[in-house]
Symmetry: C2
Subunit: 585 residues, 2 copies
């Protein structure tokens, strides 16, 4: 059996940066060549970044993607890398490459993969299965391809597939089996979700069995607005053996020698399998089989959920800040657990010099809140300052007749105005710190604590916030470093501190009661009856459901933030604001 | 040829209000019966309201829709209306009606129509063509139906279809032709877009020719978050003659006698046409042909664009406020054109007693601004007050070191805090007044003038704002009423008045230059080259495109507002915030 040295390039592209992404391909192909690779793979929509959303409808953007692909092929050859076949994702469309005028925008856009060799695009593949659920809207953007592309490389028949082609049965993988290929390449822009890595490997194994072929799965890493891509690239044999697996959340070149079946000679004449045509081509003159020891990519061990989520949140935040070219971030430090966790994430993502923390005490702020905020600042080394809000709150109270909730919210809004003023004056991005539980029930002040450009913990339930804090401190201890989060911030009862002696538990059920109900209702789409059947108190269920249903408007006004679940508020979960349906009638 | 008296019920359902919507069906069916109708038609998803978005995934909601349909059939019979066949849209799903437990949520949901007669559901139809563009996400929510439902009513074969079935060629209308039906019913939840009524009639005529059958097109009216449904129900003969047409934006019962071809006896045996199965059934015992004069529905004349948009904005605002049960609205009155138009819309929608206007002058507010705001209040009769912001602005300036843009934005944010405090204290919904042009280029203060729960002019370009103001004043004059909008607010050069002598034209091109570029870029998805080919100055184009591309984040934080175009910011136009693509390189 022939052996191919595969290089899976788990890189971090930026949406819209065609030149920068092409440069990434060139430099990682150089590294792969230096490692003796005979076939290099890059992720889905590598050249444009993923997802490009309505940029697909801009004909100038589609034309730029196609032009960048041709230029990349030429540049790789000019770099002396022409012999090395490179698979790269890009945006294509039906029709001539430089259309202008009256063609309907977005008509026939394709989520495409190309094989580049010796300065030319020698094969193209158009994604067949288009996902249209959760964060995916690909039925809106792309036309489905109906041809499986098989390229003979080093005597092995290699099929090209893209992302969702792996997640749905039938289509390309079934066609690959009938075409008798030895390897299926699957290039991905697959966003992170808690526990998704646990189902990915079994899925790859099932498809390998279905295709009776090895699978090389390569995924991008990096943050893109609310999405974070996790990597987790891998190679699995036709028998389901995991040969190599890359780490999550970091760029990585996974190089591994894979024994693959020699292709039948000559290529099968045109066949139609599972509704797909199969198009064959051959690449001649790839780099020779390297001498010396076999390349071994290694196998990464899975990490604890808390470690995984922490890495996802750090990467999502870092890339949002850096790809949008913000110099630094600012956030309010209340002494509570949410702002402490966000501050620790920000310091891990950007370093303490790029994080400003502001204590914004009012007359209701307790002594321990001020102390805990100061302690956090000392532990993390972030830039710390104190701006008491009472004089400004009093200015409003002297001019307006306000009472009750209006006074509570006023304090949060004065804090918001101060943070935004610091953002305008000093250039920081404001970080929002509300967790998913309070976002779900609307326990926040619109244009108050909900102010900000990015919320790293938007998709993190409150009980998970506590677990993350404990894990991060324990991890610091394990490494002999200072624990970033004050023990007191973890241990004390949560409070908004907007009125005397106020506690979250005055208004909300305890979080260990609240979160399971929210998880059933939001993540599980359970109705009232289903929640009560699961053992929850009917009165508490009714109260929680009413809060969630009426908080929709506030959620629409909240900052984007890193998504880690199937039902993050925002892109995934679309509910009418105007809606008379209530589970409790 | 038999004659059928059709009643098209152009009503205003509320999302989620299953009981209230069923009551609407009962009372309008009573009116139709009183008018001698022999077949009554209600809009798409009448029972649930439209669109229900992710409520589709709640099994309890699907079950409630099915139960409400059965109950409605029984209630109509109990009302003595059982003989009168009623077509009504509802949400259905495959599988047993009361599933609970482990079935995947949302599996097999159907956008359905039912024919109710003598206390029972006698026929069902599942929408075939599912729209998945613009505001529509139906591929995400529904499974496509593959059976055309034909019911013999009063000796006429009537096919049931839903909305998009009309907009795409082939499928149900082609099948209806092969089945030889006399009438195609098309029930709609078709949102308003400027000029859509101009393409709807030709489209209905084309499909009537395709089906060789008359078409009864019924559409809902009403506001649902950003959408506004316009009605415009109509009946067109197989020859393309427009028999009757209902007005836009008001509830209306369109009753008309239509001569239709007698069905062949017996019904054709099962056929398959254009990939669809045809299912036949027969309804016996409908109300007799009425004696007396023929019912004539009448033909509504089209109105001017400005009148149409004004009605759309009024209805969208009124329903957002009333369906969400807000007692009143509050907005800041600057003396400028945007807030004047929004105030006039609000008074038209809710009456002057439910509209509070607040003048919020600063040291940069001109004398004419204060006077124009007071004049507007007098003209419209809204509740007017003045809250000078300078003392509160000075409070922040005394405590923070701010300059330049930070000071400008501070003023807008103090105004936002005051409006939100009044909202909390007095229960008003805050109206936002930023137009689409300033939203496009980011010429607003995040958490300042962008604060608010609803923005009636979110989708209205600045040049259209002026046209609307002039039209509304002229319309008042025509009716001998006071013009609501001060002439001075229309005539003066726009200014944010956040720094001394500031004008919009210091920062932006004149709006009659800016708007055509924005319309080409946003509505037309033209790129830089396309815009320059259209005759725009390249330097201005580059400046505008850069502003639009970098304002995405502010737009994500803006209030919902009535949509009147194909490319409203919000649901329709999805662009990455993190994005390095720039048309000007």
């Amino acid at each position: 059996m022939p052996t191919l040295r595969l290089a899976l390039s788990q890189v971090n592209p930026s949406v819209g940066d065609l030149a920068g992404n092409a440069d990434l391909v060139r430099s990682w192909t150089r590294q792969a060549a230096d490692a003796g690779a005979q076939l290099v793979l890059f992720p889905e929509l590598m050249l444009t970044g993923y997802p490009v959303e309505d940029l697909v409808f801009r004909r100038s953007f589609v034309a730029a993607s196609r032009a960048a692909l041709e230029r990349l092929a030429a540049d790789l050859a000019a770099d002396g890398l022409g012999d090395l076949p490179v698979v790269v994702g890009y945006l294509d469309a039906d029709g001539p490459p430089q259309v202008s005028g009256d063609a309907e925008p977005g008509r026939g856009a394709r989520n495409a993969a190309a094989l580049l060799h010796r300065g030319a695009v020698v094969a193209r593949y158009f994604k067949h299965h288009l996902p249209n659920y959760g964060v995916f809207d690909e039925d809106r953007y792309f036309v489905s391809g109906d041809t499986l592309t098989v390229v003979r490389i080093g005597g092995v028949d290699v099929a090209l597939t893209i992302c969702e082609d792996l997640w749905q049965a039938g289509g390309p993988f079934a066609a690959a089996r009938q075409a008798g290929v030895g390897l299926v390449v699957n290039i991905n822009g697959s966003p992170y979700e808690l526990n998704k890595d646990d189902i990915r490997l079994p899925l790859v194994r099932r498809r390998a069995a279905e295709a009776q072929a090895a699978i090389a799965y390569v995924n991008m890493i990096g943050g893109q607005d609310e999405l974070v891509f996790e990597g987790d690239s891998m190679i699995v044999t036709a028998d389901g053996e995991l040969l190599a697996r890359a780490p999550q959340f970091v760029e990585h070149l996974l190089v591994h020698d894979v024994e693959l079946p020699a292709a039948a000679t000559p290529p099968a004449t045109e066949i139609v399998a599972d509704g797909m045509r199969v198009a064959h081509s051959t690449v001649d003159g790839i780099p020779p089989t390297p001498s010396g020891p076999a390349a071994v990519g290694g196998l990464i061990e899975p990490v604890a959920d808390e470690a995984e989520v922490w890495q996802a949140l750090v990467l999502g935040l870092r890339d949002y800040v850096n790809k949008n070219r913000f110099p630094s971030v600012v956030l309010g430090l209340s002494g509570g657990i949410d702002s402490a966790v966000v501050a620790a994430l920000a310091v891990d993502a950007l370093g303490p010099d790029r994080v400003a923390g502001v204590s914004l005490p009012s007359q209701h702020s307790s002594e321990h809140s001020r102390e805990d905020a100061a302690d956090l600042a000392k532990r993390t080394g972030l830039d710390y300052r104190i701006e008491p809000i009472q004089p400004m709150v009093d200015g409003f109270l002297a001019n307006l007749s306000l009472s009750g909730l209006a006074v509570e919210n006023l304090q949060a809004r004065v804090r918001g105005v101060i943070l935004m003023a610091l953002s305008n004056q000093e250039g920081h991005l404001v970080l929002t710190t509300g967790n998913k539980s309070e976002l779900a029930v609307g326990y926040s002040t619109l244009y108050g604590d909900s102010v900000g450009g990015f919320n790293p913990v938007k998709d993190v339930w409150k009980t998970l916030i506590w677990r993350l804090a404990k894990w991060r401190n324990a991890d610091a201890a394990r490494r002999g470093e200072t624990a970033p989060i004050p023990k007191n911030s973890i241990g004390k009862p949560p409070s908004a501190e907007l009125s005397p002696g106020q506690l979250d538990s005055d208004t909300l059920p305890d979080y260990d009661v609240l979160d399971p109900i929210l998880i059933g209702y939001v993540d599980g789409d359970l109705g009232r009856d289903g929640l009560i059947e699961s053992g929850h108190d009917p009165a508490v269920v009714d109260k929680v459901l009413r809060l969630v249903d009426t908080a929709e408007y506030k959620r629409r006004q909240s900052a984007p933030g890193t998504k880690i679940s199937m039902k993050a508020f925002g892109r995934d979960r679309r509910l009418p604001i105007t809606n008379r349906w209530r589970e409790d009638g």
